[in-house]
Symmetry: C2
Subunit: 382 residues, 2 copies
Amino acid sequence: MNYFSSDFKLGILGGGQLGKMLLFDTRKFDIQTYVLDPSDEAPSKIACNKFFQGDLMDYETVYNFGKQVDVLTFEIELVNLEALTQLENEGLKVYPSPKTLKGIQNKGVQKQFYAENNIPTAPFERFENLDNLKSKINDLKLPFVWKCTEFGYDGNGVKVIRQVSDLDSLPNVECIAETMIPFKNELAVIVCRNPSGEIKTYPVVEMEFHPEANQVEYVICPARIDEKVAEKARAIALNVSEKFNHVGLLAVEMFQTNDDEILVNEVAPRPHNSGHYSIEASYTSQFENHLRAILDLPLGNTDSKVAGIMVNLVGAEGFSGDVVYENIETILGWNGVTPHIYGKKQTRPFRKMGHVTIVNEDMAEARRIAEEVKNTIRVISN
Amino acid sequence: MNYFSSDFKLGILGGGQLGKMLLFDTRKFDIQTYVLDPSDEAPSKIACNKFFQGDLMDYETVYNFGKQVDVLTFEIELVNLEALTQLENEGLKVYPSPKTLKGIQNKGVQKQFYAENNIPTAPFERFENLDNLKSKINDLKLPFVWKCTEFGYDGNGVKVIRQVSDLDSLPNVECIAETMIPFKNELAVIVCRNPSGEIKTYPVVEMEFHPEANQVEYVICPARIDEKVAEKARAIALNVSEKFNHVGLLAVEMFQTNDDEILVNEVAPRPHNSGHYSIEASYTSQFENHLRAILDLPLGNTDSKVAGIMVNLVGAEGFSGDVVYENIETILGWNGVTPHIYGKKQTRPFRKMGHVTIVNEDMAEARRIAEEVKNTIRVISN
């Protein structure tokens, strides 16, 4: 198959920032791209060959879009699975496969998959809906973590239940109750696999939390953990990847417990926030490797050239409207600092508006600069 | 001035590969871009906010385009200088300034500028046209280098004259005759300067020639030369930059003579082929730094993370038509190899269709892989 400067068409479901960054590499390789997204202001709109506005959860819309392309991928899991399955049955290359996505899209199914495949994960119970959970509340040990099984993202759909009344405001949807396990670190490993079976893992990264707010502040590559723990995390990620038999990227999020056990939290079968550092720090970025994987090209080197830290740029509290990046000029003056602005016109509290990568030969220096970046730039409105 | 996610508009004259690569960084920063190019198939077309088809040498076209933007830059020197001058007089920020471009666009004027500013360059004489040169042929020492002063690029418009009959096929245009100086190396330094006067230089790079074909095969960063020679080259490039008082990038091409003298060959006031390695090897690519400079933002770190080598992908002899990149899948499997396909549909012998960057911690290994790349990939037609 000749992809480069040809009539070959890659379809991407979703036109957000992940798609936008993926599109940079399709341009570098001169591969034609079609994008489907519900928003007319999607960040990807400007960088694809053809943009289609439409509902990603609608069977007809996704099916008709898929019929126009040669390979289909997605940058968001919330897409119509039946349409993908039908397209795959009709012979279209859909990567990752809807079979993989089916095991991931619903968190209850995903957790079940880990249990059935002996993949270490926190103990859990599945419930059809909240009423069902409430009726069995006496069997559950407080505190536990409530998670809705579908449509949750970026912390939405997750809540720590410390007392029964914490359940009051929750929606009556399918959910799981997960045992709360104290952990030292949240880790992630991105695994990359092509249809020919070539497989590579990126280094283990660490999510550093704000000591009080309990919010991820920095993604740090490589994780500042013991080499043996890192090896264990990579081995478990590879095992998860093998069991899902995925094509493309699989981001495996894990907990490192206080006893240095590794528990799988959840996975995403696509480029992931925890891999954004790779654009500047790695020999081959996660986006380029996702593209190489789904086109069955040889995978690129996943090693790092230098230490990399990523800081998310989210909308500041108290600001909604036309976005302004306060002090972005200041941080541009610091060594190894690269902002990535996603191109969303409007900010809202906690909306992901961009990220900043800090690279340096010296990890401690990168960490110091990252903290200054975090304390300096603000996403506000005018 | 607020550039990011705002109504600010950057205009770019020229929509070739240099503009295309520059546009990647405007997307990363979410800066609105307007592009003017004569070709409806310009590589930049897909990555800008608004594309205009038109003649870059036409006064009205360039002037009207300029009136729609807030800052104007170019990716090719062959643009209408009068229009730029008029726009600048009316208060538009044009970077580099038409005053700078005026000293560069015509090679006779450029050489004169070096002579007047005590910048070392090969001795030369200017001629109104070829007839004029022929009439003074007895004063010139053979061999010498004939160069037309305008509209030459990529080796067009340059010829070594070893005997008088070599002049026969040349056009009767303004030209210079330059003394042929034997040299060891062809070097280049890219200087970056913003309107506030911040200035940085990239490392000295080396163009390695094919031993027989006398054609540049590799651009190598850093140049494998004595540190003292590198310092001298950097100092001379800074001096040239200061004299031109430019804003944006200035690529300074130089000869290292057999006596380790440095002679300035020519300059380009824009991102340059000799800086393409910087996308993968440098902390900040030449394109991002051009953008930072013309927007008067702080300049990024010009140091390298790793050794970088660039190989140009030019159309193979004997092939014209729809392009095919033979064996591109093979080279993608090698460590640190990244192809950049410019997006031109048609190949012709020697047409610049893309480039390949090879990065590695070890320069000798990078050089070995670069040679394999050169010997493996071919730009042909089907």
